[in-house]
């Protein structure tokens, strides 16, 4: 892989960015974007390797397509879940523990109390 160092660096940077995004973001949608970055890194690596390993079945490219498809399906499910979450609790903050609700304004009586457990 003598000629592939540049893509390799790019892959590492992308993966790192994705991981960072996953870790640093509290909004679920942004986390999803982080995951997409990681998958993109994988795709890039596949494409690069596909170019390096000539293969009658074009495995690298095929796999990249696979990845993109899966990613799309994932995002579909994920957005569905995120919407469900938003419906259920009004935000998609990932730093809230199970059953916990963000306190927007402590003096607002309309907002449910913190740490309210879901009964079921």
């Amino acid at each position: 892989m003598i000629h592939a160092w540049l893509p390799a660096v790019l892959v590492a940077v992308l993966f790192g960015l994705g991981l960072y995004g996953v870790l640093a973001r509290r909004n679920a949608v942004l986390v999803l974007i982080g995951v997409e970055l990681m998958i993109a890194a994988a795709g890039l690596l596949l494409v690069t390797s596909g170019a390096v390993h000539p293969d009658p079945r074009r495995a690298g490219l095929t796999l990249t397509l696979f990845l993109i498809t899966i990613a799309a399906a994932e995002i579909a499910v994920a957005l569905g879940v995120v919407i469900a979450v938003f419906r259920a609790r009004g935000d998609v903050d990932m730093s809230l523990a199970t059953g916990e609700t963000r306190v927007v304004d402590a003096t607002d009586p309309n907002i449910p109390v913190m740490s309210q457990r879901d009964g079921a």
């Binding site: 870790l23 730093s95 059953g99």
Partner: protein, 665 residues
């Protein structure tokens, strides 16, 4: 009667019969005392019969030397445990003595413990005790010896603790067992060491094997270990202190323990190992020092005892010391028959003395000097028995005590002349102890036969009455008063002289007294045994100088004691000694406290420390679930249940795994 053809030989019977008696009594324990007594006495008689058969067998010809018991233990290569019996002439004599003493004790106990609710247990224990002692006597296997040895320890525990309502009895029993058991630890190690090298537990084989290695250090150590155990059982220095305390047991038990069984067992065991001892000066020296110290020390203490039963106890220590000295002074090639002879004589007179003192104690209610003072005078039936016993104890010719003791002294001095260290020690001790023995025997006699002070005052009263004039008032004269004589004494026809006072004080039934008389006769005339071919004793060449000087010393001691006893309240010569000396001596020089301070307290302290450590360990183990739970709780706080923490963990995991994988490779 062809004894050889019997399926069970008399040699086995002497052990089996008492053991079976004990078992029967335990099984029938719910039956009445009378039934129990019948079994006990029958068993004891049968036991005596078995011993008699043995003697008959021995008299007729060669003994069946080697008898099986439960068969050899199949414990594999390297060591043989044949578990066989060996009967020699010593065994024949001692089994007889044990059987007689046991019979007497059983008979006496029925009278002595007539109202005791635990009589049945007592009788059963005595039977078991007898069996154990007989086993030690006839055993040819260290393991069997140990069986009898430990069993006696256990029975002594039961007997001493018979009156277990009393804290003192409980303590005495506990102490007796523990002290002897403590001494048994080296004993066990010692016989193990001997048996391991000889690759067998047969005593004769062991002796044979080790005789070739007489100088070996292992042998010396093993013998010293055995001596240690013997010192424990026989209450020799430094283990002597349990024995006087053991007087908490009923008197028949004391008679059994002291006379023919437990304390004498040490002599038998050492006699078995005598060939090894004879060749080993170091071990003999240790034995001589222990026994010599014991015999002198105990005799001195015996003199000071306030309680006559304890006097007898200390005298036992002293007398057993004598027997052991006889073994310590053995020269190679000489049999230990002298020690056995003294064992026999001691068995007779000590059993007699204990039982008679027990009898007197029943009459007077106690065994302290104050109560017993003059008891023999009051109860003349006991007079001759006491006299026979004490004479034999003191070793006055021609009693058996004299014969055996004098021969020991003779032998020891002869050996000492050869500059044998152990014999020198033994001889020194013997020289001191002979007059001391006479002294305490004399003291006991004087106390017992003392005419008590009250009797003297009574006599004085009679004399005074004749002179005193009674005041008679007028009023009395006017009333219908009794006619009086000129002195004012009642004018009565002289009262008919009192009928000869009938001694209706309690006394053992006639057969029992008969047995006591048998013991007394043996104590007095048993000396003739030296003529028997069964004992190889050199009695033909006594050193008359020694005999004479010993007698002189004894006489001097007796006279001194008589002088001391003059004008004392209870006829007690020891009263002349300073009070604190007597009180300390009565407490056995307070060695008990030393034991407690040196052994019991540290061990208990250690035990507490260990218990605390163990408790901490157990609590630690028990706390582990709690700790795990705490960890779980702590860890729960780290699991914030948020998706983010989960992701952080995932990321960390990926990184760590990646690093590990790449580096580990």
């Amino acid at each position: 009667m062809n004894l050889q053809a019997w399926p069970v030989q008399p040699g086995q019977l002497v052990v089996l019969v008492p053991a079976a008696t004990a078992v029967l009594m335990v099984l029938l324990a719910r039956r009445s005392n009378a039934v129990n007594f019948a079994i006990a006495i029958l068993g004891a008689l049968l036991g005596l019969g078995a011993a008699g058969l043995l003697a008959a067998q021995a008299a007729r010809g060669p003994l069946p030397a080697d008898l099986p018991t439960i068969g050899a233990l199949p414990v594999g290569p390297g060591i043989a445990i044949p578990l066989r019996l060996h009967i020699d002439h010593i065994a024949v004599l001692v089994t007889g003595a044990v059987a007689i003493v046991s019979l007497t004790v059983q008979a006496f106990a029925r009278w002595y413990l007539f109202h005791d609710p635990r009589y049945r247990q007592f009788a059963a224990t005595v039977a078991l005790f007898t069996a154990a002692m007989q086993l030690v006597v006839v055993s040819d296997d260290v393991l069997l010896t140990l069986v009898g040895w430990e069993l006696m320890g256990w029975c002594s525990y039961l007997l001493i603790g018979h009156d277990s309502e009393r804290e003192k009895a409980r303590r005495a029993a506990y102490k007796a067992f523990l002290v002897t058991r403590f001494a048994d630890a080296p004993f066990v190690v010692g016989i193990a060491a001997l048996a391991v090298v000889a690759q067998t537990t047969s005593i004769r084989a062991i002796v044979q094997h080790w005789s070739a290695l007489s100088g070996s250090l292992t042998l010396t150590a093993a013998l010293i270990c055995i001596i240690c155990g013997v010192a424990g059982k026989s209450a020799q220095v430094p283990f002597q202190d349990w024995l006087p305390d053991a007087m908490e047991g009923p008197t028949p038990a004391s008679a059994l323990i002291h006379a023919a069984t437990m304390v004498a067992a040490g002599t038998i065991v050492l006699a078995r190992f005598a060939p090894l001892l004879a060749g080993n000066g170091t071990a003999r020296l240790v034995l001589a020092i222990s026994a010599g110290l014991s015999t002198v020390f105990a005799a001195a203490l015996a003199f000071c005892q306030h309680d006559l039963k304890r006097l007898l106890a200390w005298s036992t220590v002293s007398q057993v010391g004598l027997m052991l000295l006889a073994i310590a002074a053995l020269r190679p090639g000489v049999t230990p028959d002298l020690a056995v002879l003294h064992l026999l004589s001691h068995a007779a007179f000590k059993a007699l003395l204990f039982l008679v003192v027990g009898w007197l104690a029943v009459l007077t209610g106690s065994t302290v000097v104050e109560r017993l003072s003059g008891a023999v005078t009051d109860h003349p039936r006991t007079r001759r028995l006491v006299a026979a016993g004490l004479l034999a104890l003191a070793g006055v010719p021609p009693t058996m005590g004299f014969v055996s003791k004098d021969l020991i002294v003779d032998e020891a001095l002869r050996s000492a002349a050869d500059r044998d260290a152990a014999s020198v020690v033994a001889a020194l001790a013997l020289i001191i102890v002979v007059p001391l023995t006479a002294a305490y025997a004399m003291r006991a006699w004087l106390v017992l036969t003392h005419r008590t002070v009250s009797e003297r005052y009574q006599e004085l009263d009679v004399i005074d009455d004749s002179r005193s004039v009674r005041e008679v008032g007028l009023a009395e004269m006017l009333r219908e008063a009794e006619p009086v004589d000129a002195h004012g004494h009642a004018l009565e026809p002289a009262p008919a002289p009192d009928p000869e006072p009938v001694d209706d004080s309690p006394r053992p039934p006639i057969p029992t007294r008969g047995l006591l008389w048998v013991l007394a006769l043996v104590a007095v005339f048993g000396g003739v045994l030296i003529l028997s071919p069964w004992l190889t004793v050199d009695y033909l060449h006594p050193n008359w100088w020694i005999v004479a000087s010993a007698l002189m010393a004894m006489a001097a001691a007796a006279i001194l004691v008589r002088a001391m006893a003059l004008r004392t309240v209870y006829g007690d010569a020891a009263a002349r000694l300073p009070r604190y000396v007597r009180s300390v001596a009565s407490r056995g020089l307070d060695l008990d406290r030393v034991y407690v301070a040196l052994v019991a307290t540290p061990v208990l302290a250690l035990a507490r420390v260990v218990a605390r450590l163990d408790g901490a360990g157990e609590r630690g183990v028990a706390a582990l679930p709690g700790a795990a739970e705490r960890f779980g709780r702590w860890s729960e706080t780290k699991h914030r249940r948020t998706p983010t923490t989960g992701l952080v963990a995932v990321a960390l995991g990926v990184l760590v795994i990646g690093l590990l994988g790449v580096t580990l490779w």
